[in-house]
């Protein structure tokens, strides 16, 4: 009975166990079925989707930055080039304590105080995840030394990069400009122009001069590389590559040799010179003194150098050729005379007797000639040769300011010359309307008198003056000065010349009138003319006009006395000229700040420039003489 009960119990237990086992087996089949369903869903139905995700995971497209185009002068001399060098860069977001890491780095390779300052400045200007250079131009030995210690510096990376270099240093710096790191304003401009894709990976951009103006030509087209990356973002291997297209080389109109001679000719003088080929508007030399070394800007300028450049009283960063607005002084007289001929307000023969001053009817004030006692009988020709002020006081008064304004505008005064680099200022060719708008005042007759000798409200930039003079030189056709001569494909070397904008121009003055003025300007450089000393013995004919612009106003009975004035209040010296006068190939305008005498300070600069350009004569550069102790030169002083 007991045994039977036990057996039955055992039997029952076994049945329960086996049925439960069957149930479990069924559960297992269902569970594995669910898993298989899941796998089929992922691996069959959704396979494409996950395949795409996996590819997106492993493939990263990295930009390949194109080489920037070179900048060459008209003879192929290199003005801006690239070189490859190692930099050591830090990604600040990946370094817990950047300052300490740099201290530690200083124990491995040299890190100067300047490097640190520059890095700190970059860090302030950039986002934290950007890679910023702490050291540039590492030597092979430094690279090796860092590589050994690399493990100590997470977030530091050696990179081989192309650098911009300006082998000519300060020479032509204002024309060439420079590149610098892309800042927020640049990013916005790039975005607005729809070029964001092309600037991926690029961290420098042209800021000024040709580098800035022709950024699009120079930059090139960014390529790309598909690389396989691992989960840590390290590149494992390249899968495909679209080569970048290097930027175009730019051939500029500058003649490096001429530029150097012109810059050296300035000596210690500040100022500007613009030389233009009057036949086509090509800028042969563009000087703004003092210059600066554009190489300082390439890696990001350090605060010390920046302050030095920015706060210097000499304002080396100011492009005087484009942005310096000066009274043109007597250099405007040929244009005044030409205007009077065009408007038939003067015949060439008309003469005045110059008592040494001019008065307006009913006004006691005397407008003095620069020469005490006057020049005697003066006709138009003589008025230019000796730079008679009295002649022009009367001439301007008779023409009236609005006629002067209209005529000067024909030669480009008061408007931007349109030179192909940025930052140009417009100068000022005043008119009644202008004064009313600007000062809410009516125009007085006395205002016109001083405009007649290039003073008063009249202002011009050196590039404007040079452009205007080029117009006189080429027969009265307005030119548009430009610096770009040709664009060269950096790979095929195929060159595309910039079209000549002068060819279609029409003269804005009568030929016969212009001939009279040119003849007078030629006599300026002949014995008896104000610039005869500077051009004595020149084998070519030069047409020129000297000028002096007051920096401070004089009272009625005050005499200009340089010894009683601070140097920065000395008059500016001006000089405009073109040569050879019978078939001009070069026209220029020179401004020497506080140079006092157009003929003796600026004239010799022009002579050296012409001698080189026309005769290939390379005289040992002779700086202009320091201002003479007393005022006894044979040159004018108006």
């Amino acid at each position: 009975m007991m045994v039977g009960q036990a057996l039955r119990d055992q039997q029952r237990e076994l049945t329960v166990f086996r049925s439960r086992l069957m149930l479990a087996g069924l559960g297992i089949v269902v569970a594995f079925g669910i898993l298989l369903g899941r796998f089929a869903w992922l691996q069959v139905v959704q396979r494409e989707y996950y395949h795409t995700l996996a590819e997106a995971n492993r493939i990263s497209v990295v930009p390949v930055v194109p080489n920037r185009g070179l900048i060459l002068d008209r003879n192929g001399e290199v003005l801006a080039a690239n070189y490859s060098a190692y930099t050591l860069e830090i990604t600040p977001s990946r370094v817990p304590n950047v300052e300490r890491a740099i201290d530690e780095l200083a124990g491995v390779i040299e890190v100067s105080a300047r490097d640190r300052r520059r890095f700190r400045k970059l860090q302030e200007e950039s986002k934290n995840f950007e890679s910023l250079p702490i050291r540039t131009r590492l030597t092979e030995e430094e690279v090796a030394r860092f590589a050994v210690n690399r493990y100590r510096f997470p977030g530091f990376e050696i990179k081989a990069r192309l650098f911009r270099s300006y082998p000519q240093g300060e020479v032509a710096s204002h024309a060439i400009g420079y590149i610098g790191r892309i800042n927020d304003a640049d990013v916005k401009r790039i975005d607005d122009a729809g070029l964001a894709t092309n600037y991926k990976g690029t961290d420098h951009i042209g800021k000024l001069g040709i580098e800035g103006a022709y950024e699009r030509e120079l930059h090139g087209t960014t390529g790309s590389e598909q690389v396989e990356i691992d989960a840590g973002g390290r590149a494992i291997r390249a899968l495909a590559r679209q080569e970048p297209v290097s930027g175009n080389n730019l051939v500029v109109t500058l003649d490096l040799k001429l530029q150097k001679i012109a810059e050296a000719a300035f000596g210690d003088y500040k100022g500007a010179l613009v030389a233009i080929d009057p036949r086509n508007g090509e800028v042969l030399a563009l000087v703004s003194r003092p210059g600066f070394d554009p190489n300082l800007f390439v890696d990001g300028i350090d605060p010390q150098n920046w302050d030095a450049l920015n706060n210097s009283p000499d304002k080396p960063l100011n492009n005087r050729a484009l942005r310096g607005q000066y009274p043109p002084g007597s250099t405007v007289k040929p244009f005044m005379a030409l205007a009077a001929l065009e408007y038939k307000k003067r015949s060439p023969e008309f003469s005045i007797g110059d008592p040494g001053f001019f008065t307006l009817a009913g006004v006691a004030h005397r407008y003095r000639d620069w020469k005490k006692g006057g020049h005697g009988t003066v006709n138009m020709h003589k008025s230019i040769v000796v730079s008679c002020d009295t002649y022009y006081y009367g001439l301007a008064t008779e023409m009236g300011i609005d006629a002067i304004h209209e005529f000067l505008t024909r030669f480009g005064f008061g408007q931007r010359s349109g030179i192909d680099i940025e930052g140009e200022l417009a100068g000022l060719a005043p008119s009644q309307e202008w004064k009313q708008q600007r000062f809410k005042q009516k125009w007085y007759a006395g205002d016109t008198v001083s405009v007649g000798i290039g003073q008063g409200y009249l202002l011009a930039t050196p590039v404007q003056l040079a452009t205007a003079v080029a117009g006189l030189a080429n027969g009265g056709i307005p030119v548009k000065p430009h610096l770009l001569k040709a664009v060269q494909d950096s790979k095929t070397r195929q060159t595309r010349e910039v079209e000549n904008p002068v060819a279609e121009g029409k003269p804005v003055v009568k030929d016969t009138n212009l001939a009279l003025i040119r003849a007078a300007m030629v006599d300026v450089t002949k014995p008896g003319g104000t610039a005869s000393a500077a051009f004595a013995g020149a084998p070519y004919l030069t047409a020129a006009k000297t000028g002096t612009a007051q920096v401070v106003g004089m009272k009625q009975n005050e005499k200009y006395d340089e010894k009683r004035l601070k140097r920065e209040h000395w008059d500016h010296a001006l000089f405009v000229a073109f040569a050879p006068a019978d078939n001009p190939t070069i026209a220029l305008a020179i401004l020497a700040e506080n140079g006092q005498h157009g003929a003796s300070t600026a004239g010799p600069i022009a002579r050296q420039v012409f001698d080189y350009y026309l005769l290939k004569k390379e005289v040992p550069v002779k700086p202009p003489p320091p201002p003479p102790e007393d005022d006894t030169g044979d040159d004018e002083h108006d």
């Binding site: 087996g25 569970a31 989707y49 395949h51 996996a54």
Partner: protein, 365 residues
């Protein structure tokens, strides 16, 4: 001579089970090689050493008579429980969890021991009460199970707790726990979920939430699931080929040689590979269930059934979590994942199965 040696070695070995195990383990080694990047044999060698040790354990356990095992069940359980208490009081904290106990000469993870000790203990208990089980017996069984599981949850080690609980529950289930109680317990468990939720650690809650929506935390907790699903899905039907999985080889799959090795396998061998693996697992499980069904004592039956079902649980939980239908709980893929501890306890379990299979005639009197 050779045949006698073979006979000595194979006397207590179950042929079909051994064959299925060997096939699965061989597959495992190939995947470990791929998961360690290819060309790097150090993990393969190290896993070979783990295998050697585990096979010795299997062989030893296969030679221990089930009756001896039954006698060892209670002491093993008690020692395990004491060790777990020791862990709770004096355990070492590693990676934020208190799981290891330093015994002076070695550190042990007592929760691993419990994966075998708990089912053996319960099987022993039901074996002793075989004349008519009552509700009270199941209540006591519940306490026997709840003590170690509770301690392991507190460590916290959810993965092991789930496995230990499963192993014990299978014994109770196979012993014939009434459906009424099971449903009632299930309902009570369901009702206590909100309470349990508050007991979970932050990272455990996050894992559950991440499972529901991995995209919520794509760089943190969701990263594991997202990357492993991408790996499996992109493998397609036939896979990208051995050593060619981009997700695996480029390090996008985390823990790719241990818990997430299925992602590597699924990417490189595709749906076809997954089917093969599931078939191999089924072979092992079917053979295990056959051994259980034919075992001659209550203890043997329950132990063999529980060990087999626990093995299934391992496989299901791991595959479920890697393919994104279960939370990430840190359970390795049995016989495939790199690592010695789980392999050791698993092959020891299969040793017990083989012992049960080969000793049954001797006790059937």
């Amino acid at each position: 001579m050779i045949s006698r040696a073979f006979e000595f070695l194979a006397r207590r070995i179950d042929g079909p089970l051994m064959a299925a195990l060997a096939l699965t383990l061989a597959l495992g080694i190939t995947v470990v090689y791929s998961a360690s990047g290819g060309g790097d044999f150090s993990r393969v060698f190290s896993q070979g050493r783990n295998l050697a040790v585990a096979f010795v354990a299997l062989w030893v356990f296969a030679h221990i008579h089930p009756q001896v095992l039954m006698r060892l069940a209670l002491p093993a359980y008690v020692v395990g429980l004491v060790l777990l208490l020791g862990v709770a009081l004096f355990g070492e904290i590693r990676l934020g969890a208190r799981r290891w106990l330093n015994l002076g000469f070695t550190t042990v993870q007592p929760s691993e021991v419990m994966k075998i000790a708990v089912p053996l203990m319960l099987a022993w208990y039901f074996h002793r009460r075989e004349e008519g089980l009552r509700a009270r017996d199941f209540a006591i069984a519940g306490v026997i199970l709840a003590l170690p599981v509770g301690l392991i949850v507190r460590q916290p080690d959810l993965g092991t707790a789930v496995l230990v609980f499963a192993s014990g529950f299978f014994v109770i289930f196979l012993a014939g726990l009434s459906w009424k109680i099971m449903i009632a317990a299930g309902a009570a468990g369901g009702a206590s979920l909100p309470f349990l939720w508050t007991m979970l650690h932050d990272y455990q809650r996050k894992r559950v939430l991440t499972l529901l929506d991995p995209s919520q935390d794509p760089l943190g907790a969701g990263y594991h699931i997202i990357q492993s699903t991408i790996a499996i899905g992109s493998g397609g039907i036939l896979g990208k080929g051995w050593l060619n999985g981009t997700q695996a080889q480029l390090d996008f799959v985390p823990e790719r040689s241990t818990d997430f090795i299925l992602a590597v396998f699924g990417e490189e061998f595709g749906l076809a590979g997954n089917i093969v693996l599931i078939v191999l697992y089924l072979l092992i499980i079917v053979r295990g269930l056959m051994i259980a069904a034919n075992a001659s004592t209550v203890f043997s039956r329950l132990a063999a059934g529980a060990i087999t079902l626990t093995f299934f649980t391992y496989a299901f939980v791991n595959m479920g979590m890697v393919s994104g239908i279960l939370p990430v709980v840190g359970v390795p893929l049995p016989m495939i994942s790199y690592g010695g501890t789980a392999l050791l306890s698993m092959l020891a379990g299969f040793g017990i199965l083989m012992s049960i299979a080969t000793h049954k005639q001797l006790v059937s009197s």
